[in-house]
Symmetry: C2
Subunit: 241 residues, 2 copies
């Protein structure tokens, strides 16, 4: 379909359209960068007992929500005014879905920072190795899902999705250990519960990073893999490794 302005500048309008598409991609990446920073602040805050850093992570959520609403609005405007088709439409849809997942990551990281705050207040100390280990795995997933999106790299997106299984395994292992600890030392129950909530939220952040990776696969390959197993994705993407 041709889009023509009142004065007939088809080329100019199309250029403006490209600029608008670039703009939402750039905003998505900016939002992703905020999430990466928020997660880093929450994890370093937990590790070092720095409550000011945890507050920064909690406050970041407002900014992230504002950016989400702005991006949502931009996507709806582009659809209404530009009537994108084929790969342009897939780009707008994939971005608007990725935005929703990033916003939910922001919520979960905010919960992590809140739990870390309570944990530090009730049980001063540093460390929490099991949280930091899964935190590192999840941070890499988040960062790689954004890189995959920036580079249209479906292979990297597949790697991210694959790594979610690893996070789930580590998560279940840590959970079992925490429940055992609570049974053996009931005095640590409250402390363990804070850690359990943090792990749970980290595991959810990993799920959302997997979703972002799957939206990118939809964008590049035109295939909806949102409910595919890793093996199904491997077959769909026709990978060799």
């Amino acid at each position: 379909m041709n889009i023509t302005s009142k004065d007939g500048h088809v080329g100019h309008i199309s250029q403006q359209f490209n600029t608008e598409l670039d703009e939402i991609r750039t905003h998505l990446m900016a939002m992703g960068g905020m999430i990466e920073q928020q997660l880093k602040d929450a994890m370093i805050g937990l590790k070092t007992g720095d409550t000011a850093l945890l507050q920064t992570a909690i406050k970041a959520d407002d900014q992230i929500n504002t950016l989400e609403m702005h991006l949502d609005d931009q996507c709806a405007r582009i659809i209404a005014r530009r009537q994108p088709a084929a790969s342009d439409l897939r780009l707008v849809i994939a971005i608007s879905k990725a935005v929703a997942d990033l916003e939910r990551m922001g919520d979960e990281i905010c919960r992590i920072a809140n739990s870390a705050n309570k944990l530090i207040a009730d049980f001063p100390g540093e460390g929490y190795l099991q949280v930091r280990h899964i935190g590192d795995l999840v941070a890499t997933m988040v960062s790689d899902s954004l890189t995959a999106f920036a580079r249209y790299d479906a292979d990297l997106a597949y790697e991210v999705a694959k790594r979610d299984d690893e996070v789930d395994k580590e998560y279940k292992f840590a959970m079992r250990a925490l429940v055992t600890q609570m049974m053996e030392e009931p005095g640590t129950i409250q402390q363990c519960m804070h850690i359990i909530w943090m792990l749970r939220s980290l595991e959810r952040v990993g799920d959302h990073a997997q979703n972002v990776a799957q939206h990118l696969i939809y964008l590049v390959k035109g295939i909806n893999v949102s409910h595919s197993s890793v093996a199904q994705m491997h077959a769909t993407l026709d990978l060799n490794n």
Copy 2:
């Protein structure tokens, strides 16, 4: 914008467009009905110890995921082929967002049924009053959010959003009671953990019902209230009660 078919039947095409919009609304309601049934099965299964009913709730998730992918595809096709504007576009956007929330409800209810299964296997018995109480509150929220969507009823949607605060209060109260119980009777820790996961998932189902209600408010009023407090929503909607 006019949409004209090759043979010039503007009216016919527009009628077909209406049919397509009706179809996605109908499919959304069907998906909502499946979620209501899934939640009912999970809660009755827990109450009566009926593991077959819990299996039905778990299996329903596949069907719900298939319907989600189908609806997603329908929404993308309508945008690509019909290029909807104004309220038609808002309808398609609101439906595609509601679909995503319903799908996540399905995931959470599946988790509830899984936890209920483990709970019943490890600790045969019936009851679990605190889960059933919050389960009833959440089931009403889900059902009312769908009714609000079916009737374009922004006032009812506001009521649903308001009730989420009540669920959150009950949830926090139940959580504190469970942590206290674990500390006083460490022998019940595993049992309590199953209940904690169920409550957590129920609370999340309530959040998603609130989201569905907020998508309806966006559809009817054209205002994004996804990050508004209940008081802000009240002011935005200009309500008297």
